[in-house]
Subunit: 666 residues, 2 copies
């Protein structure tokens, strides 16, 4: 027979803690000041009461904070805490069988049933004395006083029962549970707390080389500075630049990606590395490091933060190739293996060989690239194709950067299979590109954003929605005309707390593909310098500015939580709302997904989402057009003409019949 | 800057392994010979191929077996293994980036695109040489031969490409992956493998004291032996006896649970412990230990296994109270705390105090009770109210018993909240009572059995369905008459691979409650000796025998896997099928849930479940009535009269138009 010496006295069970990603392998993500709502199943054998305590602390502190969880039925408990500081928090659950609480509930029932409770009161005194023995002197004295009172047979029995039920004594005794029966859940779960911009950001992508005032001339950082007011006027707060490093000459691609560039062609900025330097150097035609730092500072004055592109790959001309050939894979003939996806070959790109014996030195060098740009003042990195580098490499790199600089934001540009995208988000990427460009129908949008909005995905994956990128000109935009651009703008800006556009191609509604069936732009800036007429009167810049102002002024649009789809009777009309944590204010968006034709139909709103009763009237205020409507109940009619405005962005105002309902009160 | 020395070369990721219970905290359950179907997400960065290997072993063996998993799309992989032996198995997943496989796929694409592949063939030779260096001599030689062949430029190129694609070389090279890049999933998951009866069992509960031939006389084990043919004739293979121990005299309950028994009243068998002994003793009026062992042996001759009741509680007369007062909780006046659920008091029961300082000795003693009865030949225990004893106590006890005797079956009688019931199943109980008695409508049944049949619940919770117990006479049975008993019998026996009845109350359709609104039997055997007319011509014993024979002859009914509900157009008609692992044979059950009136309606069968095409005819053979019907397509009519037979239990026979379709071929 085996030894039974280790039977635990811990009778409480804690299971199924949420939020939790992959059994706690990865942290959940929140931003500074947000609330973490924690739930768990907790119970014990028999009828005894349990106390369930949420424990949390910042990783930099040894001190756990405690927050009592409350039962919400079916053995499920709920609690919450806020994360006021950047970095990592830990949370777990502590629970125990609460004999004192069991006793006071039983006492009350017996008293109410008219039973003799004198012995029970003495039992309570015994329990309290055990607790007092674990308490510091002052609290022990409080417990002793209480013991004296409830066992004082000269006192009125009802008074003593009341004393036993007091909330104060319950809270006091809960501080000193018997350690032998306390369960500390084995799982210490983590929260990665990022700054607010990780949750709410408005991106603008621009090629620096296409910013010169003269057509054909190579733009500079100084030219970019001149355009900062333009970008700021549209309300963007992140300005993202494709790579600014020296561009390789070997195997350089020409206009529209033809295999061989003519001598005067500039090549792709993603072909990094030339005689002038690699990932820490600046392409000479853009300016100097000083110019770049000046641009960062000037942008800051406009409320704009610069984001750099990180593309960990090298051209054959990159200094790494000469200095560290061991970082690349060699073919049997001694040549370096270029990128391939058979039968396609990309001879202008040498991928790094992360399985080489020199992988540690390689990783250290790539880490130093990030550190270098942080030192220059960059705190946002848009990472090119992270899914073609090893997951452990990213987890380590981002983890270590965040240890020192938790404010750094990494956006993953991984247009790949869903589980790969999710893994990158789990291991540390702050935000992620995603399938939004190809989700154009009502059903696609509802399905995808329901997936993204449901735990655990919503706990680790922050979508950044891009209607277009230099690589992605969707068929919806190619064929949908102005209406399509407006629709996609409103969807991106209201479905996503973070979104971005690649401009000025977007606001100027550039829609010509390289060839039919392609999502590449004709005459793409990836391979040539473009000259844009930013003052084109047809530009969508005014609409963009209005949409971004609405985002700034309406907190529900600044978070991906609180998204709710509402029914409409038309497949062309999509309706959804966002409601803030407080529940007080909501934004309701209705979009006509047909970029060509007016569409109308009936909404069937879920009124409890807005805290509205099933009947009664309320005001909806279209923040795009300024129009106000008085609506009643769940069912309301909408009509949207893409020729004018393909969307309503309503603020829902509960109609309260008082003088405060007039505009001048607001 | 932190050290980057530990960047892993392991580029493959394995996530979301199923089956898995609570992140691997608990084992899944299977029975001997069953298949374990394992799935996992596995992928790497970039385009490289991965190889995913399912690893498994019996806990008693150090030797892992390997089984290649196959991709089923969206980065999900599937594999399986069988568990031929009792006890515990471990399984996990091993995966790696398969450079050789990547290479051979790329080679083929390049060859098909007409590219020069000579250098690629040399690259394959390099890879194979690295693998050969890890292989034993014979396999290394095979690899060397292969290298020689594919790099032999005098050979036809197509031949060499074909050699590169050969399945044999792929299987060979997969045996020797580079250990530096192999991921062994951190999770070693467990399977508890029980004997077949854990999955498929047919229980009959009987009070030994009500088996005497003379009314009013106390039955004995010898009387029970006389009834073994009766039990066997109905097809039961487990005979479960309420506690057989000496019954306490203090606070003994009388007939119909009145507070004080008259001197001649026998008391409740669950009031365990008297001067004659406790949990290892036998109530003298039943017979001796020798008589009991004789009963076990005789039952075995009838294919019947005895199950004992384990009720870990004591009356005030139990020897433990005198010998080990430290195993009970003392009240402040020195008396022992009796069971309470305020304001209710159960003075005849002393619960054990599992948090006492003597808890280890107590647990050891209770464990010795199980061991004692195992030594007498009992291998099935029905555990009374396990939810009122600590979870760690059961986990340790069952775990230790199973280490030595994995064939022991524990049935949890925990009629309590769902998460508590599930926890007991997770921690080791083989089978579980459940909410079946109170699931009587179509919707209730579908919802509940869908929950039980869905992972992870289906991986750890084996329901044992009881239409009645000595504590549970449901209102459905009280008011439904003969039809209700038939309905509940068929539901229990076909929804559940394990089920049981409390007889002869069930087959004699005992339906009188103690009082209106009560689920207690009037004149319950729990408090008195009953005399039953087992030969009553109205008895359901023939129907029970037929149903149990159908269960024995139709393997799909012997497992809870493969349950599928089918639509009907009547809320009174429920239809479901069970299909075996092979998919070859199915049983379709249609039940009229209205015990009073004939009901008819249309079925809408899911034909793919049966491997049947959307049109075409097939035969359904009612195993209850013997009738055969030729049905066509998904939509078929049924009509069921509870006065005759409230259910069809069809065997579905695919109609094949050949001479084998005639009966004499079967």
């Amino acid at each position: 027979m085996r030894n039974v010496s280790d039977v635990s006295k811990v009778r409480v069970v804690v299971e199924n803690i949420t939020p939790r990603v992959d059994c706690g392998r990865f942290p959940i993500k929140r931003t500074v000041g947000e609330k973490v709502l924690v739930e768990a199943d907790a119970f014990t054998d028999g009828h005894d009461a349990v106390t369930v305590m949420l424990m949390y602390r910042h990783a930099a502190s040894e001190q756990w904070h405690r927050s009592l969880m409350r039962s919400i039925g079916n053995d499920r408990w709920q609690g919450s805490f806020r994360v006021p500081s950047l970095g990592e928090y830990h949370y777990t659950i502590s629970a125990w069988v609460d004999h004192f609480d069991t006793w006071r509930h039983g006492l009350l029932k017996k008293y109410e049933a008219g039973q003799d409770i004198e012995l029970d009161l003495r039992q309570g005194a015994v329990l309290a004395a055990q607790i007092a023995a674990r308490a510091p002197a002052s609290d022990a004295q409080l417990l002793q006083d209480w013991i004296h009172s409830i066992t004082d047979v000269t006192r009125d029995r009802e008074d003593r029962v009341t004393l036993a039920q007091s909330q104060a004594i319950q809270e006091l005794q809960q501080r000193y549970p018997d350690p032998a029966i306390v369960l500390r859940s084995e799982e210490s779960l983590r929260v990665q707390v990022d700054r607010e911009r990780a949750r709410f950001s408005t991106w603008y992508e621009m090629f620096p080389r296409s910013t010169a005032t003269t057509a054909g001339k190579h733009g500079t950082f100084a030219d970019m500075e001149r355009l900062l007011p333009y970008v700021a006027s549209m309300g963007f707060d992140v300005l993202y630049l494709p790579p600014i490093h020296p561009i390789g000459r070997s195997e350089r691609k020409g206009r529209n990606n033809v295999p061989e560039a003519r001598p005067e062609e500039p090549g792709s900025p993603w072909a990094i590395g030339a005689a002038e330097g690699g990932h820490k150097a600046i392409h000479p035609e853009l300016g100097t490091l000083e110019d770049f730092k000046h641009l960062i500072a000037e942008a800051g004055k406009h409320g704009i933060e610069l984001a750099l592109d990180i593309a960990f790959q090298a051209t054959p001309d990159h200094p790494y190739v000469r200095e560290h050939p061991e970082w690349f894979l060699k073919r049997p003939d001694g040549s370096i293996q270029y990128a391939e996806n058979p039968p396609k070959k990309y001879q202008d790109i040498y991928p790094f060989h992360f399985e080489s014996d020199a992988a540690e030195a390689l990783a250290a060098e790539l880490r130093s690239v990030i550190d270098y740009w942080i030192a220059q003042g960059i705190l946002i990195f848009r990472v090119d194709n992270p899914h073609t580098k090893p997951f452990p490499f990213w987890e380590k790199l981002i983890g270590e950067v965040h240890q020192l600089r938790p404010e750094v934001i990494f956006l993953a540009e991984a247009f790949t299979r869903p589980k790969v995208m999710y893994r990158l988000a789990k291991l540390g990427f702050t935000q992620s590109y995603n399938y939004f460009p190809w989700r154009n129908t009502k059903r696609e949008l509802i399905e995808y954003f329901t997936e993204l909005g449901t735990a655990p995905v919503s706990d680790f994956f922050r979508a950044n929605l891009w209607p277009n990128t230099p690589d992605i000109l969707t068929e919806y935009l190619q064929f949908g005309g102005r209406g399509a651009f407006m629709v996609r703008l409103v969807l991106a800006a209201t479905l996503g707390a973070s979104y971005g556009i690649y401009g000025p191609a977007f606001e100027l509604m550039e829609a010509r593909p390289r060839e039919p069936g392609s999502e590449e732009y004709l005459d793409s800036e990836k391979y040539e310098i473009r000259h844009w007429n930013r003052d084109d009167p047809a530009s969508l810049r005014e609409l963009i500015a209005r949409v971004n102002r609405i985002r700034r002024e309406n907190p529900p649009l600044q978070s991906d939580r609180g998204l709710k789809f509402h029914a409409t009777d038309s497949d062309m009309l999509i309706a959804y709302s966002k409601t803030g944590e407080s529940g007080a204010d909501s934004v309701l968006v209705v979009v006509n997904l047909d970029p060509h034709n007016p569409q109308s139909g009936w909404l069937q709103l879920d009124l409890p989402t807005f805290g509205l009763p099933a009947s009664g009237s309320y005001q909806v205020h279209d923040l795009l057009s300024g129009a106000r409507f008085l609506w009643q109940g769940a069912r309301n009619f909408v009509s949207l003409d893409p020729g004018r405005a393909p969307a309503h962005v309503f603020r829902i105002r509960r109609r309260v019949r008082s003088e405060k309902d007039f505009d001048y009160f607001m």
